[in-house]
């Protein structure tokens, strides 16, 4: 992992920033999100992919692509979380007290 982060930090930073931007937007965005049920399914899928990566069952290039995708996705999620929290903090501070 350390090797990959030093090798492709640019792509990883891009994922992080993308996540940050998405998280920033998501706090004030109107409209329907993903349903609760689907979210569980997606979480299960992500867990299964992580398990496959950790167990190293996917061989060769596909294994590498899976690792790369999961790292980018993890950073994306981290960026989303940070972006959302920050936006929420900014919004709650600037909004007049109810």
């Amino acid at each position: 992992m350390a090797y990959l982060t030093t090798f492709y930090w640019g792509w990883l930073l891009a994922s992080l920033l993308l996540g940050f931007a998405m998280g920033w937007i998501s706090v004030v965005q109107h409209g329907e999100g993903v349903s609760k049920k689907l979210r569980w399914w997606l979480a299960a899928l992500a867990a299964a992919l992580v398990a496959a990566a950790v167990a190293r069952v996917v061989p060769g290039r596909f294994g590498y692509w899976l690792d790369l995708g999961l790292i980018m996705f993890a950073l994306y999620l981290w960026g989303c979380a940070v972006g959302s929290c920050l936006r929420d903090w900014v919004v709650s501070r600037s909004a007049p007290p109810a």
Partner: protein, 464 residues
Amino acid sequence: MHGLFRWSSKWWPGVIPLVIFWAIAAWTSTEPLEADLAQRSTAALKDTVLNKRRISVAGRDVTLAAEAFSEDGRTGAVASVESVPGVRLVNDETRLVPEAQPFVWSAERDVVRVTLSGSSPLPASKGRLLEAARANLGGVEVVDGTTLARGAPPRFDNAALLLLDQIAKLKDGKITLSDTKVSLSGMARELGGREAVAAALKNLPEGYSVAANDVKAPPYIFQAYKDPVAVTLTLTGYVPDNNIHAALVAAAGRKFFKEKVVDNLKASVGAPAGFANAVVPALGALSRLSTGTLVVSDREVKLSGDALHEAAAVQIRAGLGKDFPQGWQFKPEISVKPPAAPVDATVCQQLFADLLGQARIRFESGKADIVADSAGLLDRLIETALRCPNTNIEIAGHTDSDGEEPSNQALSEKRAQAVTDYLVKAGLPANRFSAVGYGSTQPIAGNDNDQGRAQNRRIDFVVK
């Protein structure tokens, strides 16, 4: 926390560009990543000795195929690649180099090249042996057909290097090392080469031994050519040592009274036993030929040429082999020189005088036994006597003045008779010859010095 959970339901649109990023990253990074890992894996195996190493990388998975020379080396190589940063998995396709049982290595030399075959223990020793072979054999093509194998005996390199030194001493042949047993066959390049190889094999590393040494020496050649036109006797080839060399040249000088001896002999070891005892009589036989070649090859004596008369040919064919030491072979190819044109009595006398002026018939000291060295001269005298068949010849014996006259008289008569008997034995009619002894009554030189006395001790042929 609840908010984070709520917001996360709206994070999905960003996944679409994320997937695009991922696709681009995967597209552009895979091959450089694989190349980098291959290079790092190769560098990690730099100090590990492996044969047929092949590294291929798919994604972050390295496939290592190689032949290792020990189990430790094999596991160590896999561990080295596993420890390379970034490598996810190592597909271990390594195996051990096959074990050779018995471990055979050989070097074979023919006319144009030296071929190394069999097994070598490590790439380094394979290279070192090939390099040593090229250095030792200067200019001869060296073909390395050895394959790598485990199971070499200890100190293999030292033994093989020593054997490569020996292949340089062979003209052709094969040296085989089977485990610790050495077998040699072939022909030494030079006289003494066989002995040099045998001596060098004593320095084989501990534990090694010679199972068979069938290296043959090149034939030990001695040649003598009697050239009637140049009036020379040319000696070429080898003699065992300087003493025998001097003895042979001296014997040639005694037996060949007319010819100049051209001495091109070289001293060398490896002579067959009884060399001098065979070559001296063979030179005597050559001296009896008008033209001829003597070739002594190991223990085989070939004498070819023309005898001066039929009886001489018979004597040489039958007699020479008997004089040889045991184990020697004689192959005569003796023909008879065509008889020369008859001459009258005056010419005949002149020819006798010429011959006896060049050399004297020699006897054992104080006796009437003709020495073998005089056979060539006697053959020429017989040949001359055959050219004037209608003459009678007095064989006149003379002595110097040393000793009592009656004994000198008796000795001169006996010696004259011995010569007459020799001529008759050679087939000349007895009634043509009369043996007369003159004692010391007819000196041709002064008896006061050795040289003069030697001239006075003589046999004269007087045509009547």
